[in-house]
């Protein structure tokens, strides 16, 4: 039973993106946080950084291992979730809400065509 909110788009590398007007919010899925377990450190991109779709731009560390987070779409980082620096466990507790990583201003070509909808992502993770 996987939690895959229907209003989000997903990358096959387990990030989600929420598009609201000119702002795209990015985080990692419930499935991803569950697989990582016990997140102890999050490294966020600097505000103003321009990222390409699929570019590694953040790092999430569990007790066991470090994993790259890839931007699902192209754009410019306009804010990051500083709360995660002090409380990385928020990613485990609220992956789709308080545990977001960064917000982007999508670039003109930063479409979501390559991304999965909730049903397709749920199929990918076998949910």
């Amino acid at each position: 039973m996987q939690n895959v909110p229907a209003d989000l788009k997903y990358a096959s590398s387990h990030e989600w993106v929420r598009l609201e007007g000119a702002v795209a919010t990015v985080g990692i899925s419930d499935h991803a946080q569950h697989e990582l377990t016990d997140i102890v450190f999050v490294e966020l991109p600097t505000v103003g950084r321009k990222v390409a779709a699929g570019e590694a731009c953040a790092v999430v560390e569990s007790v066991k291992t470090a994993s790259d987070i890839y931007s699902p779409i192209a754009g410019e980082v306009i804010s990051v979730n500083e709360t995660l620096v002090a409380d990385p466990g928020l990613v485990n507790r609220e992956p789709f809400d308080g545990g977001w990583f960064f917000k982007l201003r999508p670039s003109a070509e930063g479409g979501t065509g390559q991304l999965l909808d909730a049903a397709a992502y749920a199929r990918q993770i076998g949910g």
Binding site: D38, F41, V59, E61, S62, V63
Partner: protein
């Protein structure tokens, strides 16, 4: 290559374990989560499947002399029913494996060796047998496939393990209840149709026991442990927690703190090298390094500020933004007990000063850390 499975594979699967490839074995890395399992062992009790580890039996009148040539510690110090941590070195002092040696009977010894090293160890032991035995009566038997093992660790274990093995021991340290075994003692206890060996030892820094038994008995022992231990907080624990627990204690893991290119002296394990023995494999190098000091020293450290967890192979540097690189992390993790990054490493001689400030380079950035005395985590005594 197909991964090997222990006799407890189905049990792990049923318990929802996450399984990984560990040295060619499909082993549980975690069940409920590494932090939860780690803290459970520190506070209550946890059981680990360690059936992937190897067992080699060395028997015969020449066993003691052979083992004292093969291994660094002094096997002559072992009375029947006692065990010791020891190292097996190449002739040049590089470590082939670190292991536990138990004296089960007058001329009967059991070596518990690392899973990833079984083939290399057995090949080496047999080659040394041919080179050294000189007609002395000795048999070397690899029993890794027929034996299974679990480690039951934590402060509550002593309260319930006696219910699994209710009768007094019949071999090794004979005639005592299992809970009366002292540290590093081993006894033979009846269970089911056969005998099992129980030693008071572990790899977590907590009180605990390791059980070595025929592969056919291990599932029944596991089940019985949970029948009597669940109320004591017993949980199944994976290799993830085993690694964080041993790292907090500063215990070496072969392939990280030890290898064929690291000597026991460099690794800080001189205590387990009986240099006064007349001859043993690697002695010349070890004596020389002990006298003149090795080129590298093993260290332990904790991160002193907010930082990503240290990991193996990250550079260890002098403090500041541009301090020189003085070594490398060999193991690192986020300590569940201390809630900060901790690690072990090797640094160039002259830098292993407890209390001194260092920096760990993580993805191109330097984070402050400090060298500390082992164990990194010390249990509060109440």
């Amino acid at each position: 290559m197909e991964l090997k499975r222990t006799p407890l594979y189905d049990t792990h699967h049923r318990l929802g374990a996450r399984l990984i490839d560990f040295g060619g074995w499909e082993m549980p890395v975690q069940y409920s989560g590494i932090v939860d399992e780690h803290l459970c062992v520190r506070k209550a009790a946890g059981v680990f499947d360690i059936s992937h580890m190897g067992e080699v039996e060395v028997r015969g009148p020449a066993a003691l002399a052979f083992l004292n040539q093969l291994l660094t510690n002094d096997a002559a110090r072992l009375a029947v029913g006692e065990g010791q941590y020891t190292l097996m070195c190449r002739l040049d002092g590089g470590v082939i494996d670190d292991l536990y040696l138990y004296r089960l009977g007058a001329e009967n010894y059991l070596l518990i060796i690392n899973a990833s090293r079984v083939t290399d160890d057995v090949t080496w032991i047999r080659s040394q047998h041919e080179a050294l035995a000189k007609g002395g009566e000795l048999s070397v038997t690899d029993r890794s496939n027929e034996l299974a093992a679990i480690a039951v660790q934590g402060p509550r274990v002593v309260d319930f393990i006696g219910a699994v093995f209710p009768n007094a021991s019949t071999g090794g340290i004979a005639g005592v209840p299992v809970a009366a075994l002292k540290k590093n003692q081993i006894g033979r206890f009846g269970f089911g149709r056969g005998d099992v060996w129980v030693a008071r030892t572990g790899y977590t820094g907590e009180d605990g026991f390791e059980v070595v038994c025929p592969a056919t008995e291990i599932e029944a022992i596991w089940t019985q442990l949970f029948a009597v231990g669940r109320s004591g907080g017993l949980q199944p624990c994976g290799l993830g927690a085993r690694d964080t627990l041993r790292t907090e204690m500063g215990y070496p893991l072969y392939g990280h703190e030890l290898s064929e290119s690291i000597t026991p002296i460099e690794a800080g394990l001189a205590y387990f090298c009986a240099l006064e023995k007349a001859a043993f494999n690697g002695r010349k190098t070890l004596v020389e390094q002990k006298a003149n000091g090795p080129r590298r020293n093993a260290v332990a450290f904790t991160m002193t500020g907010k930082a990503a967890p240290p990991r193996a192979h990250y550079p260890i540097c002098l403090p500041g933004e541009s301090g020189a690189v003085i070594g490398e992390v060999t193991s690192g993790t986020q300590s569940p007990s201390l809630n900060c990054g901790v690690g072990l490493g090797l640094v160039t001689v002259g830098h292993a000063v407890i209390g001194s400030a260092i920096a760990i380079e993580i993805r191109g950035r330097r984070y402050p850390a400090a060298l500390v005395k082992k164990p990194i985590y010390r249990k509060m005594t109440s």
